[in-house]
């Protein structure tokens, strides 16, 4: 690792052709993974990520480069080469660097990087067994434990050297059910930015394993989902992917700042039904999508995005902030040093409303109950989104009835937000990975049970009767 004076030299070299901001991002990460398939440990790996990225900004234009040669020589060479993209005179000189100490808000008692593979295997094995023994039709099970520890150093032309350390872990439980002809699979993946104690004390993985096996078996006997416009009740927790896709991505500065989002220039206007409030909060203690600081060195924040249907704020990174003339909100994130940071979500959820989930189901005469969603995608320019439902049921006369498979939900972000007419009081968060321009990053999605009128449901089962 370079010394303080070497960092100064690298930054000033980067700024030598007129850049007005420069930043060095150094990452060393150890990743461990172990998995069990059909009851036996079948794979185990260790990986080390090590590299550095340098970014130079001039106004809203940026140059970015990265290398595995994290030495003064390697970084100077990269800084020099990147600075060739601009051809001005030096406008900023960094005189000194001050080390900034970041307080760790996420207490860890038993760091996962120090827990043996054997202990992790012993932890997941009972859950693996539960899935395996749940039903003869469970033909394949796979479980795993993966964790990583990252040590980050950010040095920037604001004169700071910032150090941060973070550890995350995630359990994967998956199973496949088959009756010899059809196949259905189910998945659970609880994760957190915490130590082994969290998994042992707060995560009921045997219950999750049971839920996964139950869902896969239940879907095996499901009929094809009917299609057409319907009233859809979306389950709490993982159902929050709908807000993440349908709205969250379109509130990121990446698309908003270039007028590429349906929500560009809509601050202060009503974009959702008045029963909807939503938040992105990167500060939640020990949450999977949290961080002490973002990957641009700014403290993470709790950002109110929508309050009673009114658009309150966007997710803004440094470059997006320059383009939009807005303050960055501590959301500049990246998968690794191989990516230039950009505005991203952290833990994003719809806030609790007043109805109980039972009231919502009871108030629905005919519709779809999308209990678990399996992910989706959105085109921020048009707001058009899609989600798959991995577990869904038909609601008849206020009761959850027969399971249906192969349902997908289609719509536009603007429309769906306005069409939410009931919001439950059972908000839960669920853990996932979000992929976008700056790579795959851990995020929480979340919501209470909600009801949406008039969503287009795609399925192979004809009209809903």
């Amino acid at each position: 690792m370079p010394s303080k004076s070497a960092y100064l030299n690298i930054l000033n070299t980067a700024l030598s052709t007129g850049g007005d901001y420069a930043e060095i991002y150094i990452e060393e990460k150890i990743s461990q993974a172990v998995s069990i398939e059909n009851g036996k440990v079948d794979a185990s790996t260790v990986g080390k990520t090590y590299g550095a990225g340098i970014r130079i900004l001039q106004g809203v234009n940026s140059v970015y480069g990265y290398t595995n040669e994290v030495t003064t020589k390697g970084l100077l060479k990269l800084a020099k080469s990147l600075s060739n993209s601009f051809n001005g005179k030096q406008v900023l000189m960094v005189e000194s660097l001050k080390t900034k100490h970041i307080k760790n808000n996420h207490k860890i008692l038993e760091p996962l990087s120090e827990v043996s593979s054997e202990d992790k295997i012993n932890y997941i094995r009972p859950a693996e067994k539960v899935m395996h023994k749940y039903d003869k039709r469970i033909v394949r099970t796979k479980s795993g434990f993966m964790n990583s520890k990252s040590v980050i150093t950010i040095v920037n032309s604001n004169g700071f050297i910032i150090h941060d350390e973070k550890e995350r872990g995630r359990v994967i439980l998956s199973c496949i059910a088959s009756d010899g002809e059809k196949y259905e699979s189910a998945f659970e993946g609880p994760g957190a930015m915490s130590g082994f104690e969290h998994f042992k004390n707060n995560v009921d993985i045997v219950k999750l394993a049971n839920d996964a096996a139950k869902a896969a078996i239940s879907m095996l006997s499901a009929k094809d989902c009917p299609s057409g416009k319907m009233t859809v009740v979306i389950g709490n927790g993982n159902g929050g992917v709908i807000f993440h896709e349908a709205c969250g991505h379109s509130l990121e500065a990446t698309s908003v700042s270039k007028n590429l989002s349906v929500f560009s220039q809509k601050l202060g206007t009503q974009i959702a039904s008045p029963v909807v409030s939503a938040v992105d909060d990167g500060t939640i203690t020990n949450a999977w999508g949290s961080n002490n600081i973002d990957d641009e060195g700014n403290k993470t924040e709790r950002t109110v995005l929508i309050e009673n249907g009114i658009l309150k704020n966007y997710l803004v990174d440094i470059v997006g902030g320059r383009r939009m003339n807005m303050r960055p909100t501590g959301c500049g994130r990246r998968e690794s040093y191989k990516y230039e940071p950009t505005s991203r979500m952290s833990n994003t959820y719809i806030c609790n409303g007043k109805s109980t989930p039972e009231e919502i189901i009871k108030a629905t005469k005919l519709g779809l109950y999308a209990k678990t969603l399996s992910g989706g995608s959105v085109n921020p320019a048009t707001g058009e989104f899609n989600f798959g439902c991995s577990e869904a049921y038909i609601i008849r006369d206020g009761k959850i009835c027969e399971p249906v498979r192969g349902a997908s939900l289609i719509g536009t972000g603007g429309e769906v937000l306005m069409n939410i007419d009931m919001v439950g009081n059972d908000c839960e968060r669920s853990n996932g990975m979000c992929g976008s321009v700056s790579g795959f990053i851990p995020v929480d999605i979340g919501q209470p049970t909600i009801r949406v009128q008039n969503i287009l449901v795609g399925g192979n089962g004809g009209e809903l009767k």
Binding site: A43, S62, S227, L373, G375, G458
Partner: protein
């Protein structure tokens, strides 16, 4: 710092490894993107990583690293030992001695890097300018980007096998939005190759602009079953999802649609698919990640399944030869499909369309990771396209879904078009498929 391969194998031997292998990958790439007449971003990448595996007491351990210093070899050997120790499965573990013959080669053209980067930036400015000038309904060119890379991969193992491949390529991607009467549509276009002379700016601009503009006025059709034509992109997407069931591991572990289907009819007689990663294009490769020689082979011939895709491990289990389809991240390999060629039919796409009185032509499928359950074959996907009325393209369709089952769909191929197209994202050469019926939801 260079990686000390010799030291790695010596230490592996002295620690009692039965065998070991090592893949060193190096890459260098440059990219730039343009926004509103300025270079909005430029990036430069230099990477190297080493992936190693070792067999100890019949168990496989694995490690990957990007950190190269005096401790690297020790770290890797220790990690391999530690990871191998916990393995319980008794599946065969093999590090490969080598195939009899390799069709060695590279896909590298240094002239790409001799063209000054400034010239390449000029192409981007030209694309952006021409897109804005093409039609006033093009209201935004979200980005136009160029990237080029050169990579080298060396696989060695303790049996003395040494395989090396060098590749170069570039890609150009542009994304636009078009707007008319408050309606916004967007699309993007990708071009990839390794000879910049093959890139035609005007054709690229025209293709992107036309296909995006045509989407304006999108409506939803009535929900019902229609005869459907999938454009080459969508055909390849669904075909790759269908063929993912050829993975032998899934067959052996009771979770594939193709259990017991070897030599059986799995699709319409019109479908013939050949895998040929030896074809000289950006997907070229002559050895898989386990060191097995890659050959050209039929996967589906006139609808009959010709082979499963094997790794060393799954091939040993079935007592067959590995097929050169091993892909690996860090540890165990799993089977995957390389570049495929779908045999074109005789009818042009126009002829396929003209035979349909009322149907749907699909140009875009979204959300594959959510709406496609390749294991069961069920899919329900967001789509865009056009109505076909009286044998002709009619109004554009947006926000519709197409749903069905892959097995049924591939058995219901009415015709395969003659319009084979090289597809960067589909990793295929594929024409349009005409399907007898698929369910479309709209209104």
């Amino acid at each position: 710092m260079r990686f000390n391969t010799k030291k790695f194998y010596e230490l592996a031997k002295s620690r009692g490894f039965e065998a070991a292998d090592l893949v060193i990958s190096q890459g260098h790439s440059l990219s730039a993107s343009v926004y509103h007449g300025e270079i909005e971003s430029y990036s430069e990448e230099n990477t190297i990583d080493a992936t190693a595996r070792g067999i100890i007491n019949g168990k496989l351990g694995a490690c990957v690293t990007e950190k190269f210093d005096s401790d690297t070899v020790n770290f890797m050997i220790d990690s391999i030992e530690k990871t191998a120790r916990v393995i319980e499965t008794t599946d065969p573990v093999i590090i490969f001695k080598g195939s009899e013959k390799y069709r060695r080669g590279n896909y590298y053209d240094k002239s790409l890097f001799e063209i000054p980067f400034e010239e390449k930036k000029k192409i981007l400015f030209e694309i952006e300018k021409k897109l804005f000038a093409y039609d006033k309904r093009i209201n935004e060119v979200a980005s136009v980007s160029y990237s080029e890379s050169c990579s080298e991969e060396t696989l060695t193992n303790s049996y003395g096998l040494k395989l090396k491949i060098k590749k170069s390529d570039f890609s150009i991607v542009a994304q636009i939005t078009v707007k008319e009467k408050g309606e916004i549509r967007s699309d993007y276009e990708v071009f990839a190759g390794n000879n910049l002379k093959e890139f035609d700016v005007d054709a690229f601009v025209k293709s992107l602009a036309d296909k995006t503009l045509k989407k304006l006025g999108g409506t939803q059709c009535e929900s019902k079953k229609y005869p459907v034509i999938l454009n080459p992109e969508c055909s390849a997407t669904l075909l790759r999802a269908f063929l993912s069931s050829t993975n032998a591991e899934d067959v052996q572990k009771n979770s594939s649609l193709f259990i017991g289907k070897l030599g059986q009819q799995i699709a319409s007689k019109k479908l013939t698919v050949t895998e040929n990663p030896l074809a000289k294009n950006i997907f070229f490769n002559y050895f898989d990640d386990e060191g097995v020689a890659i050959t050209k082979k039929d996967i589906v011939k006139k609808g009959v399944l010709q082979t499963y895709l094997y790794t060393l491990e799954t091939a040993a289990k079935d007592g067959v030869e590995p097929t050169g389809n091993g892909y690996r991240g860090a540890g165990k390999a799993s089977a995957g499909l390389g570049y495929i060629i779908v045999k074109p039919g005789r009818k042009s796409e126009k002829e396929l369309v003209s035979s349909i009185k009322e149907g749907v032509y699909i140009t875009d499928l979204e959300g594959l990771h959510a709406g496609m359950n390749a294991r069961s074959g069920n899919f329900s996907l967001q789509a865009q396209g056009f109505m076909i009325r009286d044998g002709k393209f009619s109004e554009p369709l947006a926000l519709i879904t197409v749903s069905g089952n892959l097995v049924e769909m591939f058995n219901n191929i009415k015709d395969v078009g003659s319009n084979a197209k090289f597809l960067v994202q589909g990793r295929a050469s594929c024409p349009s498929f005409s399907i007898k019926k698929l369910f479309i939801s709209g209104k």
